[in-house]
Amino acid sequence: MKLAGEYRFEAPVAEVWSALLDPIVLAAVMPGCEKLELVDDTYVGDLNIKVGPVQGKFHGKVNLSDVEAEQGYTMKVDGRGAPGFVNATASVKLTPEGDETKMEYVADARVGGRIASVGQRLIDASAKAIINESLEGLNANVKARANVAEGQEAEVIKASQTEFATKVAKEVAKDLIPPPVRTALIVLALVGIGALIYLLVR
């Protein structure tokens, strides 16, 4: 499975870079992350992943290489658990753009086990949702960090499971229903609800 994309953080590159290396922030923003610690040069943690009907805990290691401060790194992820395994290599590149920071990422992941055989149709959507949710969480945190006064500690903003579930549903809908139809469906649904309310209150 190949994933690629870019994201714009509303914070300077220094904030983004430090957050990207901070296990506490990362743990907070990744949906399902129960624990993330830096042990020697390796991030070690537990991640609860839910893909369609399959869910379970993955125990994973993340190694960073080619680390170039405020520019990017390559990370190797090795996660295993009862639902299967994930092996991934991802490279992350940061470019400052004024007060904002552009992030580009390319990842190649191999997913196996029950999570792949049972959740096949949902893996792409779930992976995209995990990445988007994490990046948005990260953005909220770096924004908060950039805005706190000198000497004060920024509060870590945590990820919400409900929001994550909505995101997965959105990603699935994107894959299944082409955009014009989707808009039409939403319009139809709104008209239907409107009509229902009208009938009820009449």
Partner: protein, 811 residues
């Protein structure tokens, strides 16, 4: 062949001596009145009341006091080294009693390996590496099913991934060796051929037209409604192992268990209760069975193991997976002269196919089908890959489906290439009725057939010529309509003991009939129904022969303690073998009944004649004794010097296989926008010889056609390049339901088997074999004018849409 001659002598006075060809008819023969319900009556199935009320008794219904439950930890990798297995967290859980690993089985007497039916070996549980995705790694034994399921998630296995080899052509390069336990470090398992190579090459050299095509018959799964499972109940005090098991061949399994475990065979009882569909998938011995039996042996308690749906789809034996390269030759008149076939059989990580021992590629050499040709040569190579082992005969007689698909596609291609009508081309290339018994170029002796009659009937039923006219008109308007034909020949009922055995056990089958004093009867068989309706059809055979009402005959199968030894039910063999044994046992009983009747009527045996349900004095029908009166006398007033009782056993070794056949015609319309194939009509004319119960035969054909539609349009087990199964649930592994199934229009011709005692042939599998090429031929027929020569099954909308796009029909 002394054995065969012995058999003939033994049965000579019982068989009617039919061996001449019997002309084809289309009327079902009925000789008994409805209250007796012998052959030809549309009797409702005796087993249905319990099935329809949810009162069947399946393995998962078995609940024994103190029963433990097993669940299996399976590999997430297709190929990986096992560094360690840490079961400590699982063992700490309340209710977890044991975790069984390969090391444990090794210590228990090298039980970590087992033989396959093809004399290969297969891991029960691995010690150093796994060789396919979802392979059994270790098993948890717990006090409840739920605890067992939770506990498998607490077993931590440290794998070191190795490169997988998924493509059999890649496997032949031996860059990755699947079976490092073997002496020879190669993935090539066996090479097998049939037919005369030199003669075939000569025919091809002289050919006016040669067509060539590559096709893939994809890996599919039987996906029976009931998954596999077992309850093993070892009684330490009695040193007795009682096993409830989803088994199509309980006796053969008992012998295998005795040989593998070392337990004495008389201390093993295998009970195969109601079975929710077998289709070949319940013939092999799976690792789960062995582990479950060992678990009971070790704990001394009953242990239950039932697969879940995904385990069943991912780890149990697959079917098909043949990569075929075929060539067909025709002379200047367009007559088919030869067939040359090379095939790669992807066996997975072990050769665990369910073929008779001497046939590594099953009966694949039947591939010249219904066509008379001078020469044929077939080569097949077996290859290991890092995928689950298997190669079962999914509702067919050992690779006949692959053979029929290939020859029906090739004949179709040849007809199109020569610009001939597909039906007319078949009619002039068929083996003709007067050529039977027909010796095929690959060595088969077809017992009987009338292919022309079946195809002509199908053409009449569907109004073939009118359809061709309609197709012409539609094509002029740019609409895509196709007509596909399949005129298949099956080869079933294995089989004569000189050629057919499984692990050395000859493939006869058996019947034991006991008539009780009140004229009711118990009949037991070595086969095992999985939905075929044996309880009804066997009773009808006995009713036909002995005149006892079919409703007065209780049919029992599946308990090795009570049933006579037999090789089980698969390959449409029940009627050809055990059905024939039922006839022979009945005739043995009848011979004794005649003596008792003579004694009762105080006449000589030769003065009596049989009349439906009684012996009567010739020319004086009021002097008669019914079979019920005779049965009572057998226990109350039997002649001096004669053994009391009225019962018989027969072990029937058929002199040849039977060759059911048929012609199917399918009409499809293709949606140019979406590539969706709609089956507008499907006519199926089957010939299975004399029909025992038309209702059951029609039911079998309906089910079989739907199971033929499945691989033609939906089913395929898909792996990614790492050997990861991508079709692990029924959401991705697609099965047709009533919604997807067209209306099946059935017709029949009846060409009795000349060597079977009641002229029957077996029918359960014909439609599964015959349907896929009819559908594929129809699709190609609709697209041929666009330049499409072949499309591999399953024919999915994306596949057709891509063909349409590539040929400029849609964008």
């Amino acid at each position: 062949m002394p054995q065969l001659d012995d058999r003939k002598e033994h049965h000579s006075e019982l068989a009617d001596g039919v061996s001449a060809q019997v002309p084809t008819t289309d009327e079902v023969q009925i000789k008994t009145p409805e209250n007796i319900g012998g052959m030809g009556h549309r009797k409702k199935r005796k087993e249905d009341p319990r099935f329809l009320q949810g009162k069947g008794n399946y393995v998962d219904d078995v609940k024994l006091p103190g029963m433990l439950y097993m669940d299996i930890v399976r590999s997430p990798y297709a190929h990986a080294k096992i560094n360690s297995i840490d079961a400590s967290a699982a063992l700490e859980m309340d209710g977890v009693l044991a975790v069984i690993t390969g090391e444990d089985l090794k210590a228990a007497g090298d039980l970590h390996w087992m033989p396959t039916l093809m004399s290969d070996t297969q891991m029960v549980l691995p010690i150093d590496k796994v060789v396919y995705y979802a392979q059994e790694v270790c098993a948890v034994i717990a006090t409840s099913r739920y605890i067992a399921a939770d506990a498998i998630e607490q077993v931590f296995v440290d794998y070191e991934p190795l490169d997988a080899v998924v493509d059999p052509f890649e496997a032949l390069k031996d860059n990755v060796i699947v079976r490092e336990d073997k002496e020879e470090k190669t993935n090539h398992i066996w090479h097998w051929e049939a037919g005369d190579k030199a003669e075939t090459d000569a025919v091809f050299n002289d050919a006016a037209t040669v067509v060539k095509e590559k096709m893939y018959i994809p890996r599919i799964h039987v996906s029976s409604i009931e998954t596999c499972g077992m309850v093993a109940n070892y009684n330490k005090a009695r040193e007795h192992m009682q096993i409830y098991m989803t088994s199509q061949a309980p006796h053969a399994h008992r012998t295998v268990f005795a040989l593998v475990s070392g337990l004495p065979e008389h201390k093993i009882q295998i009970i195969s209760p109601d079975i929710g569909g077998g289709f070949g998938g319940k013939v092999p011995v799976y690792p789960g069975y062995v582990i479950c039996a060992v678990a009971s042996l070790v704990t001394g308690k009953p242990v239950k193991w039932i697969e879940d749906r995904s385990e069943n789809l991912q780890a149990d034996s697959f079917a098909r997976d043949y990569h075929i390269e075929a060539e067909m030759a025709a002379d200047k008149d367009g007559k088919i002269t030869g067939l040359r076939v090379k095939t790669l059989s992807d066996c997975g990580a072990a050769d665990a196919a369910a073929n008779p021992s001497k046939f590594p590629a099953g009966l694949y050499s039947i591939c010249t089908g219904s066509y008379d040709m001078k020469a044929a040569h077939v080569e097949v190579d077996g290859v290991y890959t890092t995928k689950p082992p298997g190669g079962v005969a999914y509702r067919c007689s050992f690779r006949v489906t692959e053979a029929v698909h290939m020859v029906e596609r090739m004949t179709e291609i040849m007809a199109h290439e020569l610009g001939e009508d597909a039906a007319d081309y078949r009619l002039r290339n068929f083996i003709q009725p007067d050529q039977f018994p027909y010796k095929s170029p690959t060595g088969w002796e077809y017992d009987s057939g009338n292919y022309e009659a079946a195809l002509k009937k199908a053409m009449d039923m569907i109004d073939y010529r009118a359809l061709r006219e309609e197709q012409k008109e539609k094509r002029a308007k740019g609409e895509l309509m196709g007509i596909g034909i399949s005129s298949f020949t099956e080869v079933v009922g294995a089989g004569p003991s000189k050629d057919y055995d499984i692990l050395g056990i000859k493939m006869f089958d058996s019947a034991e009939i006991r008539i009780h004093p009140t004229g009711k009867a118990m009949a037991r068989f070595g086969t095992k129904s999985q939905g075929q309706g044996h309880e009804t059809t066997y009773a009808q055979i006995v009713a036909e022969e002995l005149g006892l009402p079919a409703d007065d005959i209780e049919v029992e199968e599946g308990d090795t303690d009570t049933a006579p030894y037999g090789l089980g039910t698969y390959a449409s063999r029940s009627t050809p073998t055990a059905g024939a044994a039922a006839v022979m046992a009945s005739r043995k009983i009848k011979a004794k009944a005649k003596k008792i009747a003579a004694h009762l009527l105080e006449v000589g045996v030769d003065d009596l004649e049989w009349n439906i349900d009684r012996f009567q004095v010739k020319g004086s029908s009021d002097q008669a004794k019914t079979i019920q009166e005779i049965a009572f006398a057998a226990y109350t007033n039997h002649p001096q010097g004669m053994e009391a009782g009225l019962e018989a056993v027969d072990y029937y070794d058929p002199p040849n296989l039977t060759f059911p056949f048929g012609s199917y015609i399918c009409v499809v319309d293709i949606d140019k926008g979406t590539g969706e194939v709609k089956i507008r009509r499907f006519v199926a004319v089957d010939d299975c010889g004399h029909i025992i119960n038309p209702l059951i035969v029609e039911g079998q054909i309906h089910g079989g056609l739907t199971m033929g539609l499945a691989p033609a349009m939906y089913e395929e087990i898909v792996y990614d390049e790492n050997g990861q199964n991508l079709t692990g649930t029924l959401a991705d592994y697609l099965l047709p339901t009533a919604v997807e199934s067209p209306k099946w229009e059935l017709g029949k011709t009846i060409t009795p088997s000349p060597h079977h005692p009641i002229g029957a042939k077996g029918v359960g599998e014909s439609p599964t074999v015959g349907a896929p090429p009819a559908i594929a031929n129809a699709v190609v027929d609709a697209l041929w004018h666009l330049g499409v020569r072949h499309v591999d099954i399953p024919i999915t909308p994306p596949k057709v849409w891509k063909l349409l796009r590539d040929n400029g029909v849609t964008d």
